[in-house]
Each structure stands twice: as structure tokens, then as C-alpha cells.
């Protein structure tokens, strides 16, 4: 389902193809379907390999013709049988003139030239078609990888919150990078690789059979053995290889641990101990590598021996057949050349087949992600109102993330448009859930939520998210410049003044200016490291610039010191009129001026009202928190008066 029209590079087929409808449990079928738009190109890649293999055999057949029909033509004289003194050896064409006893004809020079050109042409054809095949395979594999990468990227960012709750970032990342690459390699290398080996075998086998079919059968006697040994070996060696890889990972993490813990190592003067520990893993890595190598050092000579027996046996039998007149010299020479291609490539078949299985597993892992349903963003076509007022009603809403672990229990409240609502409560009491439901990040199933009088799930998600701004508790910034972070969500050109106004309101403008590159300062690894409070303020500026109708501040100033928070609060006050604002906070000062304060306790509303109303219940949670605040001042006084 293409949501955005992308400019694909030239040569890419069907860039917007929806991969979802094609995923299947049958891996080979799935891979075949992945090739949508490339099937003919890939079939061509294989065919071209066949043509190249034909050209290779053609070279040998031409050699055979050359030897049998030209060089060994019965009436071509072998001049070296004559005394050398008679003739200038470099002018064999003149031979006929000097001989009187035999009817000698030497083929004209043109024939030699033609044959020579034939060799060049066939080699050229072989090279050219090999190239064409490689290019077609590259186009297929890169095209498929391109399509997969884009699809997964988009797909993952459109999967629901619940999906992301359940799945680890690292795992998703691996599926969308290394697994995609394994699938790419399947097409780039293994698919054509198997094709090449099989075609080489078939074509050369057929060519030998055309010369002498029993000989062809005899020559492929060891093929099943070689394939079997190869499969057996590469399965085992891939296990060893994996062991080496795992050990390398262990080595890396030992190292990483040592480097990040360098303070501890030095503080306890444990350098020698650490060296010994690293040494152990390092040596083990060496041992595992050696084990893998030992397998290789047996495999190749052993298959050399098997193929060698076949080779010598083939030479012997074919040569004897020539001596017995069953074959010509040219036959023998062509055969000797083809024999190599019948048996040698088989030694690599096992490797390719074992690698293929990685590709198949990777396909499964990719398909698993693709199979998930995206969150429909634009469903429920028309936004019911052009301009959202911001009246919110929760009517007996219950919600749970996990079955039997209710987060909200029967919650009801009403917020008038433009009001400021404060949500208080312990971690896990359901405050953040309220705001997640408003954005339809999760779907409520019990009760009713109404926005401007219309049931919330009648609104397209897209509309809600464009109109509701959330400043989340733990700020997330992207590794780009501060300006790009602030303008991250506005899909239009923004003036410098607008950006600065937002930054000023979030009390971060001065901080940004203090960086050498100001608004162009990069955030993150390659740039400055911002403190928690600074990050919060940048995300606040980002949300303010979005200019939402409903603003949600989820503990947005928790890492900001009290003075800055006061500055932000007064700036917000100017920005807030007309917007419905939800504030989730811990500090009394932050919430006391709200139009409505709701105190949550384990998913239910414990108290609701204005600051003054809530204080009227001395046993209420709110009053206790408030008391505590005053107690702080009292205790401090006490402490100081001790002096």
C-alpha cells in the first residue's frame, strides 16, 4: 500500500509493489514472489549463463574440429616427416609445390584465420554473456533489496505501539538490515551460483555424450560422491564457522567491557588479571579458527583426490579409445577440456546450498515482520470538524495492555475546550495511558471517549496526531541539527523567527545560542550531548512549533530546575489560551493553577477538582502531598534553627 510516491532510481522495477499480500510460509514460493517485476530479468540471468556455458563448450568443440578436420586432415602432410633441409619451415603453404610423391593439400591461410577468429568470438561471447548474466542478477538482487529496505522501513514505522512494545529494537533492526542482505545475496550469488554449476554440468555432460555417451556416463561416476561429500562438509564447516563467529563476538564483548570499565581495572590494578582473561578468549578464538581450518585442509585435498582419480581415469579410457579408433584426437582433446567442468564445480555446490539455507531463514524472519498489520492512519475518511475545539470526555473508560492487568478502571471525566487539566498519580497509575488513548496509539475497548462530542475512534488517526501535541516524559532527539529537531514535525517551510519563538517559549533559545554553531549544532554522538533538561526543552519547542489544538505535557519539565520551569510555565500560559492542555506532573507548583486536577490511584480516579476543592479533603492524597510540601519548608527551618 504505497502511501508516498517515491522517486526510485532508474532501472528499479515496481518500487511501490505491496509485498504484504505475497508473504507465504513456503519460503521458496515466497522468494519467487519477492522477484515480482524481476522474474524475466532473473530468468534471463540464468539463461545468459547457459549461453556462456555453451560458448565455453563451443570453444572446445571448435578445437576438436580444428584438430580433426584441419590439422589432422588425412591428406595434410606432416612435413617434419620430410628432411628439414628441403623446405623453409615457416612457409608450410608452399609445401605442395615441393612434393611430388604425395597428393598434398594444405588448407588455405584463411581457414586458420577463420578458426582463430572463431576462438576469439566464442571467448568473447562467453565473457559477454557472463557479464550480462552478472548484471541482470545484480539488477534483480539490488532491486529486490532496495524495495525490501524501503518497504520494511515504512512498514515498521507504521506498526502499532503494541507491536513495538512486544518487539526489541535490535531484533527489528537485524531483520531489516542483515536479513535483507541475506535475501539479497540469495539472488545475487546463490541462485545464479547453483544455476551456473548445474548448467555447466548439464551442457558439458551433453557435449561429452554427443561425442560418446558411455564416456559421459563414466565421467560423471564420482559426481554424486563429490556432491555428497561437499554437502556433508559444508554443513559441518558452517557450524565450525559459526563457532568462530560466536567466539569473535565474545572476544569483542570482553574487550568492550574492559575498555568501558577501564577505571575499575585501573583502580583495582587488575591489568594482569584482565590480560589473562582476554588472553583466554583470544586463544580460544585462535583454537576455533584452527579447527575450522583443519576441516578445510582435509576437504580440499580429499576432493582433489576424488576428482583426480576421475580425471586420470577419464584421460586413460578416452586415450585408449583413441588408440582403438573409437574416438578421434579432437574428440579426446575436447573431452579432456569438458571433463574438468563436469566434476570440479560440484565441489562448491555444498557451500552454495548451505548458504542458501541462511537466505531461506532470513526470508522467514523478514516475512514475519511484513505479515504484521499496519496501523491504518487515514481510515474514517473525512475529519468530522475542520477546526478542533478540544472538548474531551472520558465516559466509563477501562483499558488494559495485558489481559487481566487493568491500567484504567472505569474512568470518567469531562474537559471543556481550552481548559488546563493536571493529572497526578504514581508511576503506573494510568496518567500516560490517558494521553496514549487520546492519540489513538492504543485502542480503547470499553467505555467511550468523545472529542468535541464525536466518538474518538471515528476520527482518523492522522487527524488526531496532527492536532494533538505530546511532549513525552523521556525526550527523544534525532541525530541531526537542533533546528532540524525543532522543525522535525512541521511539513512546511518555517521561518527562523518561528523556530526561535518556539525555542524561547521553551526557555532553550539562550542555551542553543551558547553553542558555537547555534541552531546548526548537531545533537547526539557526532555533536553535543544535551542534558536531560535541555533535551526536554528542545522537544517542548518541537511540539510548540507544531501548534497543536490539544497539548499534552507528560512530565515534560521533570528534569528542568524550578526557575526554568517557572519561566516555561509563564511562556506556556501565553501560548495556551484556547488550547486544551493536559499536564502530567509531580510538583504542586506545576499543577495548582490547573482548571481541573485529577489524582489517579491504580487506574481509578481518586480525586478530582480544583486546587482549592481538593485541599478541602484533608485525608485526600492531594492534601497529603500539599502538606508534605509545606512540611519541607518547616523541616528546613527546623534544621537551620539548630544552628
Amino acid at each position: 500500500m504505497p502511501t508516498t510516491t517515491l522517486t526510485a532510481p532508474q532501472g528499479v522495477q515496481q518500487p511501490d509493489y505491496d509485498l504484504k499480500k505475497d508473504v507465504t510460509k513456503n519460503r521458496l514460493l515466497g522468494l519467487w514472489r519477492l522477484m515480482y517485476g524481476y522474474r524475466w530479468i532473473y530468468i534471463w540471468a540464468t539463461l545468459a549463463l547457459g549461453i556462456a556455458a555453451l560458448a565455453k563448450s563451443g570453444t572446445l568443440l571448435l578445437l576438436r574440429y580444428f584438430v580433426d578436420n584441419i590439422l589432422l586432415q588425412p591428406n595434410t602432410i606432416f612435413l617434419h616427416a620430410l628432411p628439414n633441409t628441403i623446405l623453409p619451415t615457416d612457409q608450410p603453404v608452399l609445401a605442395g609445390f615441393f612434393s611430388e610423391t604425395l597428393p598434398i593439400t594444405t588448407p588455405p591461410l584463411q581457414v586458420f584465420v577463420l578458426i582463430a577468429l572463431g576462438f576469439v568470438f566464442l571467448a568473447g561471447a562467453e565473457g559477454w554473456f557472463t557479464f550480462l548474466s552478472g548484471r541482470a542478477a545484480a539488477r534483480t538482487s539490488e532491486g529486490i533489496a532496495y524495495r525490501l529496505r524501503n518497504y520494511l522501513f515504512d512498514h515498521i514505522q507504521r506498526l502499532s505501539f503494541s507491536y513495538h512494545d512486544k518487539n526489541q529494537t535490535g531484533d527489528l533492526l537485524q531483520r531489516s538490515t542483515s536479513d535483507v542482505d541475506a535475501v539479497r545475496q540469495f539472488f545475487a550469488e546463490q541462485g545464479v551460483g547453483v544455476g551456473r554449476i548445474v548448467l555447466l554440468f548439464l551442457i558439458n555432460f551433453a557435449a561429452i555424450a554427443a561425442i560418446h555417451w558411455q564416456l559421459a556416463l563414466f565421467s560423471s561416476l564420482v559426481v554424486p560422491l563429490v556432491v555428497g561429500v561437499s554437502l556433508w562438509f559444508f554443513q559441518r564447516v558452517s557450524q565450525r564457522y559459526e563457532a568462530v563467529q560466536n567466539q569473535e563476538a565474545i572476544l569483542s564483548s570482553r574487550l568492550q567491557e574492559n575498555l568501558t570499565g577501564v577505571r575499575v581495572v585501573k583502580a583495582f590494578a587488575r591489568q594482569a588479571y584482565e590480560t589473562k582473561r582476554f588472553e583466554k578468549e583470544n586463544w580460544h578464538y585462535y583454537e576455533l579458527g584452527r579447527d575450522e581450518l583443519v576441516m578445510h585442509s582435509f576437504y580440499w585435498p580429499i576432493t582433489d583426490a576424488i576428482t583426480g582419480v576421475q580425471l586420470i581415469g577419464g584421460y586413460l579410457i578416452a586415450a585408449l579409445m583413441v588408440l582403438d579408433g573409437a574416438l578421434t584426437v579432437g574428440d579426446y582433446m575436447a573431452y579432456a577440456g569438458m571433463l574438468v567442468y563436469v566434476i570440479f564445480p560440484m565441489r562448491n555446490l555444498g557451500r552454495i546450498i548451505v548458504q542458501m539455507s541462511t537466505g531461506l531463514v532470513s526470508y522467514d524472519r523478514v516475512a514475519e515482520v511484513i505479515r504484521e498489520d499496519r496501523e491504518p492512519l487515514e481510515e474514517n475518511s473525512a475529519p468530522p470538524v475542520a477546526d478542533l475545539k478540544g472538548e474531551v470526555v472520558f465516559d466509563h473508560v477501562s483499558f488494559e495492555y495485558d489481559p487481566n492487568l487493568p491500567v484504567l478502571k472505569n474512568v470518567s471525566f469531562t474537559v471543556k475546550a481550552g481548559q488546563v487539566i493536571a493529572l497526578m498519580g504514581a508511576t503506573g497509575s494510568g496518567k500516560t495511558t490517558i494521553t496514549n488513548l487520546l492519540n489513538r496509539f492504543y485502542e480503547y475497548k470499553q467505555g467511550s471517549i468523545r472529542l468535541d462530542g464525536i466518538e474518538l475512534n471515528q476520527y482518523p488517526r492522522d487527524f488526531l496526531r496532527r492536532n494533538i501535541g505530546v511532549v513525552q516524559q523521556e525526550p527523544f532527539l534525532f541525530s541531526r541539527s537542533i533546528r532540524e529537531n525543532i522543525t522535525y514535525s512541521v511539513g512546511r517551510d518555517v521561518t527562523e523567527a518561528e523556530v526561535e519563538a518556539a525555542a524561547k517559549a521553551a526557555a532553550i533559545h539562550q542555551v542553543i545560542l551558547s553553542f558555537p554553531e547555534g541552531y546548526n549544532t548537531l545533537v547526539g554522538e557526532r555533536g553535543v550531548t544535551l542534558s536531560g533538561g535541555q533535551k526536554q526543552r528542545v522537544t517542548l519547542a518541537r511540539t510548540l512549533l507544531k501548534n497543536p489544538r490539544i497539548l499534552i505535557l507528560d512530565d515534560a519539565t521533570s528534569s528542568v530546575d524550578t526557575e526554568t520551569e517557572a519561566a516555561i510555565r509563564s511562556a506556556l500560559k501565553q501560548l495556551m489560551p484556547g488550547r486544551t492542555t493536559f499536564i502530567i506532573a509531580h510538583r504542586i507548583q506545576t499543577v495548582m493553577n490547573a482548571d481541573l486536577i485529577i489524582v489517579f490511584d491504580q487506574g481509578t480516579i481518586a480525586q478530582m477538582g480544583t486546587h482549592d476543592q481538593l485541599l478541602r479533603d484533608p485525608d485526600g492524597i492531594y492534601a497529603r502531598i500539599y502538606d508534605m510540601q509545606s512540611r519541607i519548608d518547616e523541616e528546613l527551618e527546623k534544621e537551620l534553627s539548630l544552628e
Binding site: T4, P9, L71, F112, V113, I115, A116, F119, V120, A123, E126, G127, W128, F131, G134, R135, A137, A138, E142, Y146, F153, Q157, F161, H164, S176, T177, E257, N258, L259, R263, K266, F268, A269, E274, N282, W283, E292, S297, W300, P301, D304, I312, L320, L323, V329, M333, L377, V407, G425, G428, G430, T433, P475, F476, K546, Q602, I625, M628, L636, E643
Partner: protein, 614 residues
């Protein structure tokens, strides 16, 4: 060279650095027997390969055309015997080269690791961990490849070309000269291609890591992306990257696909020349039919050594760049070393005195300026002040992770630069703000403090530090694995373990950098107890964040801008109503505010923030 450029990856100098190459080969010296072994093996294998082609010629000429059955059998027997010999040498070269490759990697890692352990802190400040990691992980493989398989391939290729030419000259010298003339062309084309291909692949690798980075960021930040409806814009940006990737890797792929055919076609002209020239000479006997066959084989086969030479040549630059970086690590010198006349006083007990100490990490930004402080034996000092004020620096100086740029530090009256480093480090106990644990069991981690401690001593230390209680709650108790870097434990638990580790070390000076992140009240109390245990009777420095710790110190030192702003006991300082007073009242509020949650949290609910966290 500025640091930024020093740490740029994938930048390659194009000039050929012979010195580095020589030094690289020098690394092989201890294993010269292995090297000699594989070089001889590959030379035998390579010569035999050429000789087999020559034998094939003789089969045709002497056996088949010569109609000589005995000759045929005898040549094939020779063929068979030589093949058995060859098989042995194939085994030898794979084994020797491959194992040596791993051995060279092992050696390099060992040397680098040992060097890393001896380097001073300043090296770690300058050098990103990622940079060191690449030197230790991927570079040795690349270098070892060049030194073993690369050397093998070059030897094989040169030997192969030489022996093939030798036999060609034996068969027909005029044609051999023709073949020899095409060789430089082949090589030039091959090298040109390989270099281009390598450049393209480097580009794709770079793009690939960008793609991974972008993908990673988008998955980590997916909740923000969704909340801000940034999906479309992100996809468009990502498509730029994948589009570039497609173009670049497609180009790289078809260039490599073109490489062998190109070489093949060039050699096809040589084959044509042989067929023409050789064919014309057959009737005169200057060339035999088997000779033509041999020439065709030699020429066709010639593309493999040529491609190997080009490949090794092209990848050599990269490996040499790797080697330069690896050598730069091996050559780094620790800044703080024992003096030749270093004297171990046997104890660190005694007063610690900072005398006119100046210190900076970067000469442009002084951290401590003419800093003076006298700490009495057994005193507990709380260091208080804003981040970046110099608290950690003071502690680092006490540990002699750095030395004063000017001025001196005396321990028990002796300038500590006259002591061996080990004498200081082995008598200092340290608990870091973010406690660092090593993968392994809890017991292993505590024992890190004193390697020869008995199990009983380990457990006693844990009890003293207040860690025993949570440890014994684990199914496997002390044998519980802590996970990589201790991920399986909470911050509070990690701190208790690092306290136990320090208790076991029984240090003479104790240093603690308190954690800022909150831990639950119970663990907090345990940590306090543990700290008290270890601090009694020892000179201690605490970079303090908690009021209870600060109040308990013998002396509070308020550090601001590299100098002592205020100093004294809690009461004295409060009375001054200065910097400390402000810090204290602010801290006081915050700590009490934190207790809100405990009121609200009548029944702890399984954290919702786990899933909501953005």
C-alpha cells in the same frame, strides 16, 4: 593531525607505504618456519599445476598421436604419482596459511591488549572506544589476511606465471613471447578494474552503515515519529539513502561482473594468436597438436593468477591503512609511568596534601588552579559542587590516573610521583557513580577486589557491604550471573556489589562517586550502611549527592571553577548562608519531593513506563 581526522574511518592514503609493509612482514619473523612451510608448499603446488598441463600435452603428442600405449600409461602413472604429492602439499598450504593467519591475529590482539592495559587515562579520554574496538576486532583480520593468504596468493600467482611461461617457452618460444607480451596488458586492466571495484564497495559499505543508523534511529524513536506524523517525510529521506545504495551497489556489482569477462576477452586474442600461429606451424612440426592444447590451457588459466595479483594489490592499500592504525595503537606510550627510582613506602596511610596543584585536560581549559588541600589520615571528605567544577578531577588525581601539571601531591609526606603506580592503585578502593560490573557471577565480581580471597571472605565482604541479603535471594545466590556489564541487576544492586568489591579489597584510601539516579529506600539505606562500614578508619573521598552522606562527612569541600569555594562542617557551612546553604536547601526539597511517589505508590504497580518510555 586533528583528532577529528584521526578517528575518521575508511579513509585511505593512496600512496604506497613501504615502511609499514616491511614492519608488517617483520611480524611474521617469529613464525618464519610456518611461512617457509606454506611458501614452499604453494610453490610446489603451483609448479605442479603448470606441469600437469605439460603432461596433458605429452599424453596427446606422445601417447595418442604417437600411438604409443606404453608412453601413455607411463605418463598417466607419473600424473597420478605427482597428484598424490600435490594433494599432500595442498593440505600443507591450507593448514599452514590458515592457522598462521589466526595466529597472527592472536599475536596482534595480544600485543594491543597488553598495550591498552598500560596506557594512561588521557589516552582513553582522547580515543573513542569505538575506534579502539575496530583496531582490535576488524583490523587484525584484514592485516592477517594480507600477510598470509595475500602472500600465498602472490607467491602462487608469480610461480604459476613463471612456470607456465617456462613450459610455454619449452614448447614454442615464439608464441611464448606473444603470450608474455599480453601479460602486462592483462595486469594493467585487472588492477585498474579491481581498484575501481574496491572504491565502489567502500562507498556501499559507508552507505550501508548510514542505512543501518537511520533504520536504528527510526525504530528507537518510532513513538515520536508516530506522534509527530513524520512517517512520510522519513520515508522520503530514507529513500534517498536506499536509492544511492541501489545505484552504488549495482554499479559495484556490474563492474565486478565485467572484470573476469574483460580479462577473458583479452586473453582470447592471445588464444587466437596461438591457434593461428601454432596451427600454421603444426604441419612443419615446429608446433604439435598437444602443444596448441597446452598453450590454450595456459592462457585460459592465466587469468586466475592475474586476478589474484590485482586483488591482493588493490586490497593491500586497505590492509596497510589498517596496519598503520594498529601500529599507532601499539606505539602509543603511557603518559604516567613508574620512575626508575620509584620507592614503595609500603602503605598509603598518612595525610594527603595537594600543594599548588594545577591541572587541565585541555591547555585552553584549566580545571584546577593553584589548588591546595590538606586531608588528615582517616578523614572523610565530601566533595560538593556543580558538574564540571573539578570534583572528579580531584579524585582522579588522588588515584594518580592523572598527575598534576604543576604542583605536587604528597601522601604520607612523600611526593606520590616517586611511588610505583601499582603501590597506589593496589591500595585504593573505588566505587563509581555508574557501577561497572564484568560479566560473570556475583562471586567473580566481588572477588575482583582481591583475587586470592576465599569464598568465605567474599561472602563476609558482601555482608559487611549489605549486599548479602539480595544476593542470597537469587536462585543461585553468589553463583548468579550478572549479565554483560551487569545488565541483569538494578543500579542499586550494582552499587552494593561494587561496595562489597571495595570492602574485600580492604583499601587504605576509599573513593566513592555517589549515584545520582534514585534507588529505592531500602537499598539506599543498605548502601549508606555499607559506606559507613568501609569509610571508618580510612581516608575517604565522596563525591556526594545525598544529604545524609554529606552531613556525615568530617569535612565538606565545595568546589566551584577549580577552586575551593567553601570548606567546613555541615553546620559551619550552613551558618555561612553561602553556596552550600543554597545547594543544601535545594537538595533538601528535591529529596523530600521524591517521597511523593511513595505516598502515591501505595501499592506498586508493574511499571507502565516500560512500555510508554520514549
Amino acid at each position: 593531525m586533528s583528532d577529528e581526522h584521526r578517528f575518521e574511518e575508511e579513509e585511505f592514503t593512496t600512496q604506497f607505504n613501504g615502511k609499514t609493509l616491511l614492519r608488517l612482514l617483520g611480524q611474521l619473523r617469529p613464525h618464519w618456519k610456518w611461512v617457509a612451510g606454506f611458501l614452499v608448499s604453494i610453490m610446489v603446488v603451483s609448479s605442479l599445476e603448470s606441469y600437469f598441463t605439460f603432461l596433458s600435452k605429452r599424453i596427446v603428442d606422445e601417447g595418442i598421436i604417437g600411438q604409443n600405449r606404453e608412453a601413455l600409461i607411463s605418463i598417466l602413472t607419473q600424473y597420478g604419482v605427482l597428484m598424490v604429492i600435490q594433494i599432500f602439499f595442498v593440505f600443507a598450504f591450507i593448514y599452514l596459511t590458515g592457522v598462521l593467519g589466526y595466529r597472527v591475529q592472536y599475536d596482534m590482539r595480544k600485543t594491543m591488549f597488553a598495550r591498552l592495559q598500560s596506557l594512561s587515562f588521557s589516552y582513553y579520554d582522547r580515543t573513542p572506544v569505538g575506534w579502539i574496538m575496530s583496531r582490535m576486532t576488524s583490523d587484525p583480520g584484514r592485516i592477517a589476511d594480507l600477510m598470509t593468504w595475500g602472500l600465498l596468493d602472490v607467491t602462487w600467482a608469480l610461480m604459476n606465471i613463471t612456470t607456465a611461461l617456462f613450459f610455454m617457452f619449452m614448447i614454442n618460444w615464439q608464441l611464448a613471447i606473444v603470450v608474455m607480451l599480453t601479460l602486462p596488458i592483462l595486469l594493467a586492466v585487472a588492477v585498474w578494474f579491481k581498484q575501481r571495484i574496491l572504491v565502489e564497495y567502500r562507498k556501499t559499505r559507508k552507505l550501508n552503515s548510514q542505512i543501518t543508523g537511520t533504520m536504528n534511529e527510526n525504530i528507537t524513536g518510532v513513538r515520536v515519529v508516530k506522534a509527530l506524523r513524520r512517517e512520510n517525510a522519513n520515508l522520503i529521506e530514507f529513500n534517498q539513502l536506499t536509492g544511492d545504495m541501489y545505484r552504488s551497489s549495482y554499479r559495484a556489482a556490474w563492474l565486478s561482473a565485467l572484470f573476469l569477462p574483460m580479462v577473458q576477452i583479452i586473453s582470447a586474442f592471445a588464444v587466437g594468436a596461438v591457434v593461428l600461429g601454432g596451427g600454421l606451424q603444426v604441419p612443419t612440426g615446429a608446433m604439435t597438436i598437444g602443444g596448441i592444447q597446452a598453450f590454450v590451457s595456459y592462457i585460459t588459466f592465466m587469468m586466475w593468477p592475474v586476478q589474484d595479483l590485482a586483488r591482493v594489490y588493490a586490497s593491500m592499500q586497505q590492509a596497510i591503512a589498517s596496519a598503520e592504525r594498529v601500529f599507532s595503537l601499539m606505539d602509543s606510550q603511557p603518559e604516567i609511568v613508574d620512575r626508575t627510582d620509584a620507592y614503595d613506602p609500603g602503605t598509603l596511610r598518612g595525610d594527603i596534601v595537594f600543594e599548588h596543584v594545577d591541572f587541565y585536560y585541555d591547555p585552553k581549559k584549566p580545571v584546577l588552579k593553584d589548588f591546595n588541600l590538606h586531608i588528615k589520615q582517616g578523614e572523610t571528605i565530601a566533595l560538593v559542587g556543580a558538574t564540571g567544577g573539578g570534583k572528579s578531577t580531584i579524585v582522579n588525581l588522588v588515584c594518580r590516573f592523572y598527575e598534576p601539571r604543576s604542583g605536587r601531591i604528597l601522601i604520607g609526606g612523600q611526593d606520590y610521583t616517586t611511588m610505583p603506580l601499582h603501590a597506589i592503585h593496589s591500595r585504593i578502593g573505588m566505587v563509581l557513580q555508574t557501577p561497572h560490573l564484568f560479566s560473570g557471577t556475583i562471586r567473580d565480581n566481588i572477588r575482583y577486589g582481591r583475587l586470592d580471597a576465599t569464598d568465605q571472605e567474599v561472602e563476609d565482604a558482601a555482608k559487611l557491604a549489605g549486599a548479602d541479603e539480595f544476593i542470597t535471594k537469587f536462585d543461585k545466590g553468589y553463583e548468579e550471573e550478572v549479565g554483560e556489564g551487569g545488565v541483569l541487576l538494578s543500579v542499586g544492586q550494582k552499587q552494593l556489589l561494587s561496595l562489597a568489591r571495595a570492602v574485600l579489597a580492604d583499601p587504605e584510601i576509599f573513593i566513592m562517586d555517589e549515584a545520582t539516579s534514585s534507588v529505592d529506600t531500602l537499598t539506599e539505606a543498605l548502601i549508606q550502611q555499607g559506606m559507613e562500614q568501609i569509610m571508618s578508619g580510612r581516608t575517604s573521598f565522596v563525591i556526594a549527592h545525598r544529604l545524609s552522606t554529606i552531613k556525615r562527612a568530617d569535612r565538606i569541600v565545595v568546589i566551584a571553577n577549580g577552586q575551593i569555594e567553601e570548606m567546613g562542617s555541615h553546620r559551619e557551612l550552613l551558618r555561612q548562608r553561602g553556596h552550600y546553604y543554597n545547594l543544601y536547601t535545594q537538595q533538601f526539597r528535591q529529596e523530600l519531593e521524591r517521597e511523593y511517589d511513595e505516598i502515591l505508590n501505595l501499592v506498586p504497580v508493574k511499571t507502565e513506563s516500560d512500555r510508554i518510555a520514549v
